[in-house]
């Protein structure tokens, strides 16, 4: 349970906003719940709603709106490759295809071991260092720039070897 396991962190999050504006804490609390449970389950949404005195529907609607929140299970790590226009001009679409082929998946799919989901995403603000990917996992989101299939593969091998070492 979030409240039992993260009491100090929850209090710190709530202290960032005026006492009568607790709803502002919903996004940081959803991140906390997502890292605790892997994805935002129905009960996680109810828990966050309960912490803030919101209706679960109000909380649930945010998840479809914001792309970094997930209400379905995916790989332990989501490999998110930018394929937007500036990156595509520098070969990012080919990079994404080649990486998928290397891993034996299509964009949006997970590897059979459940460790990785490969996704195409919109601009990550790294256009001068394309191809760019970010890894979203339980410990947050980290950038990896100037990627090749080989460098991405080395990164993925590290992730697979030790899930705690993001």
């Amino acid at each position: 349970m979030l409240r039992e396991n993260h009491a100090v962190e929850i209090d710190e999050i709530l202290s960032r906003y005026p006492a009568d504006r607790r709803r502002s804490a919903v996004m940081p609390l959803l991140y906390l719940a997502q890292s605790e449970y892997g994805y935002l389950t129905r009960s996680a949404i109810q828990e966050v709603a309960g912490l803030l005195g919101l209706d679960p529907t109000q909380v649930g609607s945010l998840i479809g709106f914001y792309t970094l929140f997930h209400d379905e299970p995916g790989g332990a790590y989501r490999i998110q490759v930018c394929t937007d226009l500036p990156c595509a001009l520098r070969g990012a679409e080919t990079f994404a295809q080649d990486l998928c082929a290397n891993l034996g998946v299509r964009l949006g799919e997970s590897t059979p071991d459940g460790m990785l989901t490969v996704e195409g995403v919109m601009c990550l603000a790294g256009c001068d260092k394309a191809p760019v990917l970010q890894v979203q996992g339980a410990d947050g989101i980290h950038y990896h720039e100037n990627q090749t299939v080989e460098s991405a593969r080395r990164l993925i091998d590290v992730l697979r070897g030790d899930p705690a070492d993001g």
Partner: protein, 426 residues
């Protein structure tokens, strides 16, 4: 090739880490005059005097709109408190990566700028809204803010005066629309990031319904040097109507993509060829998007290449400078493919509030996709154009309008890229 126009700057004003390694550490920033501008403001100027100075500098908002910053501040409803400052660090325009470099490499100059803005606005709380992808940067910012707290540069009784400031970092979660200031405020309040009807503007009713200043990262990073060196110095850089330095994010088909801090008024040619090293493989340049995916596309003629990149000149050339995210496309690029890529982006990022944008971006995406993938039916070119024009002028915020810009300008300037394609009905 000769460059008769603007010279590069002798020193960086915004990307100071390029001249002063280690400036992302507090001690180094402090040693190089850091927080002297804030001290000067708090101990020797009234908030009104700070606003007057920023107005006199001619600083214009660097997030895309180019609105005069001091003027924006002066719209705050008088005598209503509390007030808020909200920093727009939701940098998400395809082609834009300037704020990220500031946040990463020169964060204390931004934080000092935020504090100066808060003093001028008489706000005691500032929120820095970072896009969710800036997870690591947001954690770094929190550490920097803790350092400032230790040194009593934020907190209570700053410089012994009756001035206080609290700084908080708030993380978004992946939504381009939150770069629009009223959508950003909705998101910060814990709601869907959908734009508000304006008026009222944030200066009257912003965060939690209170008077609020929303400024971009780069805009605020200009404040410490303006306070320290004055409006006249600032106006010595750039052009009369577009003063100051600007970070140009250069991407696409150039040898050296990256951020370049140059005076406003530098020409496209200087940026692309002198700074960026020109087009790889000696290929010809075909088109320029001066403001990211939202651009009105320009054909890269000699006249366009010699256009000074300031707000007025780029507008006169038929586009807009926006956030100065300059995407370069060489002669191999198919502009119908570009229209497909930008439509894919805007379809994904439409918040769904206004029907013309929500439905129109969907229809543009599918018509463009059929064209690009050889599945076009007769009438798809006209359909694409009709839908784009049908969106224009009918949406609450600029996103709907932006989605049409690259499509319509690409069709006007590079018609054969759209029409000279196989149709399944032919």
């Amino acid at each position: 090739m000769s460059f008769a126009g603007t010279r590069p700057m002798a020193e960086h004003v915004l990307l100071r880490h390029r001249d002063l390694p280690g400036i992302e550490q507090f001690e180094v920033y402090r040693k190089h005059g850091g927080f002297e501008a804030l001290e000067k403001a708090v101990t020797s100027m009234t908030p009104a005097e700070v606003i007057q100075l920023v107005k006199a500098s001619g600083l214009r908002g660097r997030g895309g709109a180019g609105f005069p910053t001091g003027v924006k501040w002066s719209f705050l409803t008088p005598d209503v408190f509390p007030r808020y400052v909200v920093v727009n660090a939701d940098e998400s325009e395809p082609g834009t990566f300037k704020d990220r470099e500031i946040l990463e490499r020169n964060p204390y100059q931004l934080l000092e700028g935020v504090a100066i803005c808060a003093y001028a606005a008489q706000a005691e709380t500032a929120y820095i809204y970072c896009r969710g992808e800036f997870w690591d940067l947001a954690n770094e910012l929190r550490r920097h803010i803790a350092v400032l707290r230790q040194h009593n540069l934020i907190g209570e009784r700053l410089f012994g005066r009756d001035v206080r400031l609290d700084l908080q970092v708030h993380l978004g979660a992946g939504a381009y629309i939150c770069g629009e200031e009223t959508a950003l405020l909705e998101s910060l309040e814990g709601k869907l990031g959908q734009p508000r009807l304006r008026p009222p503007f944030p200066a009257a009713e912003g965060l939690y319904g209170k008077p609020t200043v929303v400024n971009n990262v780069e805009t605020l990073t200009n404040l410490p040097p303006i306070l320290a060196r004055g409006a006249e110095w600032y106006r010595s850089i750039g052009t009369e109507k577009s003063p100051g330095p600007k970070i140009f994010s250069l991407s696409g088909h150039v040898l050296r993509p990256g951020n370049y801090e140059l005076p406003l008024g530098t020409t496209f040619r200087e940026l692309i060829y002198r700074e960026g090293g020109g087009i790889p493989g000696g290929r010809a340049i075909k088109a320029i998007m001066p403001a990211g995916a939202s651009s009105m596309i320009l054909a890269a003629t000699d006249a366009v290449l010699d256009t000074p990149m300031d707000y007025e000149s780029v507008a006169a050339a038929g586009s807009a400078l926006g956030s100065a995210s300059v995407i370069i496309m060489d002669e191999t690029v198919d502009l119908a493919w570009v229209a497909w890529k930008t439509s894919e982006f805007f379809k994904h990022e439409s918040c769904g509030k206004c029907t013309p944008c929500r439905e129109g971006t969907y229809w543009m995406l599918h018509a463009a996709e059929r064209l690009v993938h050889g599945r076009a039916e007769d009438g798809d070119v006209a359909l694409l154009e009709n839908v784009a024009r049908g969106i224009q002028g009918k949406c609450l915020c600029a996103l709907g309008e932006f989605s049409t810009m690259p499509v319509i300008t690409a069709m006007e300037l590079f018609r054969p890229d759209f029409t000279a394609r196989p149709s399944v009905n032919r």
